[in-house]
């Protein structure tokens, strides 16, 4: 299990939000140990993402958030533990098949194909659905509805968009694959407050549509605003986990952020 002792909130979790939960979580991560090559960066992380809910993975830089996300996507080595998506164990499944199985990944730093046009980027997002191009073109409309700012810029190379638009494009690209679970890695990084608000509003919209979302954020308050569940990582371990309403005090999170929490040698 996760680090005992620090998490009174975790024990309260079941009764706090049991009403809205379906019995089987969309994504279930158990005792995950992950890292780069032989180096282990994350230990024994466990958390769930449920249909129509946002789980926020919080922690300061270097806490292991991105590593966890990459391990779920199959980009990093999973040393032990299990990742289950919609009942399917993802162990040994190559990354591109995980995407086809319903994983949508938005990597950090607005990782879009900067030399390609907005439309090409979006079409590519639908590649995993293996359907005709014309059908994909129909899906474009849904993305433009969610992010109207992209509509007029279909022919523009992605590298020429503003940072906020690139982030929206990155999310739109992942959505084109019709994922069941959307993973967002620091979508607010480097964006102006108004834009962050817009991005978070679209997260709310997506969640309302039934999508499960795993949100990795450094920006606690933006994340807390949209999250149903919160898991906080510090130095590679889960230090707190539970429904957002059950968190006694943001100070605990802040401690983890500013390094006032316990450090742990690697």
């Amino acid at each position: 299990m996760t680090d005992p002792g620090t998490v009174p909130a975790a024990r309260r979790a079941p009764d706090a939000a049991v009403a809205s939960e379906s019995p089987v979580p969309l994504l279930s991560v158990r005792d995950l140990v992950a890292g780069y090559g032989d180096l282990r960066v994350v230990w024994d992380a466990s958390f769930d993402v449920r249909h129509g809910q946002v789980t926020a993975l919080l922690g300061r830089n270097g806490a292991g958030k991105t590593t966890t996300l990459r391990a779920i996507a199959g980009l990093n080595k999973l040393h032990s533990g299990s990742v289950t998506l919609n009942g399917q164990d993802l162990a040994g499944v190559p990354p591109h098949r995980r995407i086809r199985a319903g994983l949508g990944m938005v990597q950090e730093n607005k990782r879009v194909f900067k030399r390609r046009t907005v439309e090409a980027n979006l079409l590519l997002g639908g590649y995993s659905r293996r359907v005709r191009r014309r059908k994909l073109k129909d899906s474009l409309e849904e993305i433009y509805e969610l992010f109207p700012a992209l509509r007029g810029r279909a022919g523009t190379p992605a590298g020429q968009l503003s940072g906020g638009q690139q982030q929206m494009l990155a999310i739109g690209q992942a959505l084109m694959g019709k994922p069941k679970l959307l993973m967002l890695d620091e979508p607010s990084a480097g964006l102006a407050p108004a834009i962050v608000g817009e991005v978070m509003n679209s997260v709310m919209t997506l969640k309302a549509s039934g999508l499960g979302i795993l949100l990795v954020e450094q920006a606690v308050e933006a994340a807390v605003g949209v999250a149903d569940q919160i898991t906080v990582l510090d130095v590679g371990r889960v230090v707190m986990s539970g429904p957002v309403g059950s968190i006694p005090d943001l100070e605990i999170i802040k401690d983890a952020y500013f390094g006032r929490g316990r450090g742990r040698p690697e």
Partner: protein, 285 residues
């Protein structure tokens, strides 16, 4: 005008080599030194099929496509997939090229073999110059393949995926693209195309074991002139090299033609390092 036709036909072959470099380069960021050797192998298989085995033309094409395609995949699995780093790849692809040079020499000997053209062989008079039908076919095929490459990369999902892989492998993986399959597929495609070209190139160049290294270099110059990764660039670069070769051969003498191509390469590298159609590469930080 006859030398112009001859030059364009040669140029078409160089353009085809450069196109092969591009297909592989775009999909896996590898410069396949052995690409020209694959074309050369195609000419030998064409000779084997049409002269030794006396097979019908269609079967010869099929045979070439299958054999060279398989060899290309073997190359990908051994000399590319297992190797890390640019220097290592340089060494192993040069090695694979050498291996193909050696094998063809062992099997078919060092003498040039004439590959018969399946179509008409009567000299045509076109725009007050003599031209063989096979030369016209070569020029046509090069143009069609270059345009086809552009159409595929611009217009199809596969093409968009290919360009995505070349820009950012990991991000492409996260869009559900099987990056490894794309890399192998590109090698196989480059091999199959090289094979299919064997029966067309053979009649112009003969099947000879030294063909590979000279095609490799001139194809490289074509690509350097046109710019890495650009199909129209490869076509124009190829024609430029072919014309330089035939015209300087005619006006200055045989011995000057290769030298002139080399000078053109030096000039391009010094004055326009990204070629005519290439992207400026981002700085490495």
């Amino acid at each position: 005008m006859s030398t112009v036709w001859g030059g364009l036909a040669l140029g078409a072959i160089y353009a085809l080599v450069a196109l092969g470099y591009n297909i592989v380069f775009v999909s896996s960021n590898v410069f396949n030194f052995a690409q020209a050797q694959l074309l050369m192998l195609g000419t030998f298989i064409a000779f084997w099929g049409s002269v030794t085995l006396k097979l019908p033309t269609v079967v010869v094409f099929l045979l070439c496509a299958v054999v060279v395609g398989v060899v290309a995949v073997v190359e990908e699995r051994t000399a590319i997939r297992l190797v890390r780093g640019t220097e290592g790849l340089l060494v192993t692809t040069v090695g694979f090229a050498t291996l193909l040079d050696g094998l063809t020499q062992v099997i078919w000997g060092g003498q040039p073999l004439q590959v018969p053209f399946f179509g008409p062989s009567k000299v045509l008079d076109l725009l007050s110059g003599n031209v063989f039908p096979v030369e016209l076919v070569l020029i046509g095929v090069a143009v069609v393949l270059a345009l086809g490459f552009v159409a595929i990369t611009r217009g199809s999902m596969l093409g968009i995926a290919l360009l995505a892989v070349s820009e950012d492998r990991e991000a492409a993986l996260m869009r559900g693209i099987n990056v490894r399959a794309v890399a192998i597929g590109a090698f196989a495609a480059a091999g199959v195309v090289a094979g299919l070209l064997g029966p067309l190139i053979g009649p112009k160049t003969f099947a000879v074991a030294t063909l590979g290294s000279s095609l490799a270099l001139k194809g490289f110059v074509a690509m350097a002139i046109g710019g890495f990764g650009s199909a129209p660039g490869a076509l124009i670069g190829g024609f430029a090299v072919g014309l330089i070769e035939s015209e300087s051969g005619r006006y200055l003498g045989e011995s000057y033609s290769t030298l002139m191509i080399f000078l053109a390469l030096l000039l391009v590298l010094l004055l326009a390092p990204n070629g005519l159609f290439g992207h400026a590469r981002e700085r490495t930080v």
